[in-house]
């Protein structure tokens, strides 16, 4: 394979991985910007969505029905998570809600182990009969193409939503000044539920793409992506939605090209390099690329 072809292949690979990270990170950032809650259970919504898709598909539904229903279930699961786990704690210290999110992780992941068993299951949806094709001797996998196109479409729609719609502007207003949002008459619960719903839909979708990429699912599958999304959010600036997207892609590219450039012996340490990157960023620019200088307390 020519070096150019290899480069393009890795480029697409990075773009695809970065897209998934961006999708997961947006949800994390949306909720954080409004509630100052780092919801580590966000990754488990990917797991819930993926299991839902697989079960609906196994029951005989067509693939697109399973996907739509599974992503919707993930969105609803996010709403339930907010209502049951986080709303009763509204107004408590950030440490409390952070620890609660870990409790939700333990609950959901062990619940999934009880329900589905601890083993991996093959995830065959979006499993194309010819998974790759080649252009100018560059081997391109279809799932990467699907991932990138789908994500870019969603990012565009999200940008329009946040920029143009009343709910989008209200989300930014709440992130800006909570008291003033109350005073102008913004219904805070609606904004919070919308943020959870949208973020969880994206998590469901990211779960689909992640599982299709891996070809398998398991109850703890949400852990690595949410930690990666956390890193991406830190890179981009926690709470900033454009920052979440940038952070997702920076992380995707950093991971893929570290692996591509490093000698094969080091490839097993891929995640270690990611966390070294995190520590490095926290040291030199703790507010991230687009982050505000200081984070004030709220709610």
């Amino acid at each position: 394979m020519s070096p150019t072809a290899y480069f393009f292949q890795q480029f697409l690979n990075a773009l695809s991985l970065g897209s998934i990270y961006a999708l997961v990170t947006i949800g994390l950032a949306m909720v954080f910007s409004i509630l100052r809650l780092i919801n580590f259970a966000h990754g488990d919504l990917m797991m819930i969505g993926s299991y839902a898709i697989l079960m609906i598909w196994d029951a005989g539904a067509p693939g697109w029905v399973a996907i739509l229903a599974g992503v919707a279930i993930s969105g609803v699961a996010g709403i339930i998570m907010e209502r049951v786990c986080y709303r009763p704690l509204r107004g408590s210290a950030e440490m409390t809600t952070l620890l609660t999110s870990f409790a939700v992780v333990v609950l959901l992941e062990n619940g999934a182990i009880l329900l589905f068993g601890p083993n991996t299951r093959p995830f065959g949806i979006l499993n194309f009969s010819h998974p790759t094709f080649s252009i100018y001797s560059t081997l391109i996998s279809k799932i990467d193409v699907v991932t990138v196109i789908l994500t870019l479409t969603i990012l565009l729609l999200t940008a329009l939503f946040i920029k143009r719609t009343t709910m989008g502007i209200a989300m930014r207003a709440v992130a800006d000044d909570l008291t003033a949002s109350h005073l102008v008459g913004i219904h805070l619960n609606r904004v919070i539920v919308s943020a959870f719903f949208i973020g969880s839909l994206f998590a469901g979708l990211a779960g689909l793409l992640w599982s299709a990429r891996a070809g398998k699912i398991y109850p703890l599958m949400g852990f690595i992506p949410v930690v990666k999304a956390f890193v991406a959010a830190v890179i981009g600036g926690f709470g900033s939605i454009p920052g979440a997207v940038i952070g997702g892609y920076v992380l995707g590219f950093a991971e893929v090209f570290l692996i591509a450039l490093l000698p094969p012996d080091f490839q097993g340490y891929r995640d270690a390099f990611v966390f070294v990157l995190l520590i490095f960023i926290l040291l030199i620019r703790p507010q991230g690329i687009l982050g505000a200088k200081a984070m004030e307390r709220r709610i």
Partner: protein
């Protein structure tokens, strides 16, 4: 000239508000009639802002009643009081810094569904504050203090309130801007908007208001027509600089 006591818009009775165990209001009572401009004057920490926040639904009183247009509103949240026509322009402006001027005004009308009328009201607000006209796409945080205050008042007006509550609108502004703000309040008064005004600048407040109340350590200690308060010795010494 409003007739006091008729068309009672707001009636606050025996309001008690606590911050934790600290009592901020010890039974505050006052009223505002429809079309009136009423001011509450008092020093820092006397309970002015606390009173306003309780009316707007940001704080829940432990005791007492707030009656607005014939209904009890002391248990309502802010988004509900806004729906009923109460709009508080808070101390310190609190505009949305990362939102554009236009978006700030849009958020002031967040509960309204009459899009056409909202657009017309944006024009109306811009006619009150022409300085904002050329800055519609600028983000709120880049405005000067005076412009931010104008935007905050404009945003409060965007919900088309029946009762406009202004908390320290002239705080920290240059005299020219203070004049501009008070001119707008006078214009609103002429349009028969009911205004409840809290001000450090007691002289200006009493000039524009029909009636006034003096609040001291969480209690109303004096009340009366503005002209009478202006000539009251205690008010003169404490708030009008002798």
């Amino acid at each position: 000239m409003p007739i006091w006591g008729t068309g009672k818009m707001l009636q606050v009775t025996g309001l008690e508000v606590f911050y934790g165990n600290i009592q901020a209001l010890h039974g505050v009572s006052f009223r505002v009639a429809a079309g009136e401009t009423v001011t509450i004057i008092g020093s820092n920490g006397a309970g002015k802002s606390t009173t306003l926040m309780a009316i707007a639904g940001l704080l829940k009183p432990r005791k007492g009643q707030i009656k607005y247009c014939g209904r009890q509103v002391e248990k309502l949240s802010a988004y509900q009081t806004v729906r009923l026509g109460i709009s508080l322009c808070p101390e310190g402006r609190r505009i949305f810094a990362s939102l554009s001027v236009h978006e700030n005004l849009t958020m002031g009308a967040v509960q309204r569904r009459d899009r056409k009328a909202v657009r017309a009201d944006i024009d109306w607000v811009l006619s009150l504050f022409p300085d904002l006209k050329s800055r519609l796409e600028q983000s709120g945080g880049t405005l000067s203090g005076g412009q931010q205050q104008m935007l905050a008042i404009g945003r409060a007006l965007m919900s088309r309130p029946k009762l406009l509550i202004l908390d320290e609108p002239s705080l920290g502004l240059a005299p020219v801007l203070v004049n501009q703000i008070f001119n707008v309040i006078a214009a609103l008064k002429n349009e028969n908007t009911t205004v409840l005004l809290v001000e450090q600048n007691a002289r200006r407040a009493l000039e524009i208001a029909d009636r006034g109340y003096v609040i001291e350590t969480g209690r109303i200690t004096l009340e009366g027509p503005s002209a009478a308060l202006k000539n009251n010795e205690r008010v003169k010494n404490a708030y009008l600089g002798g």
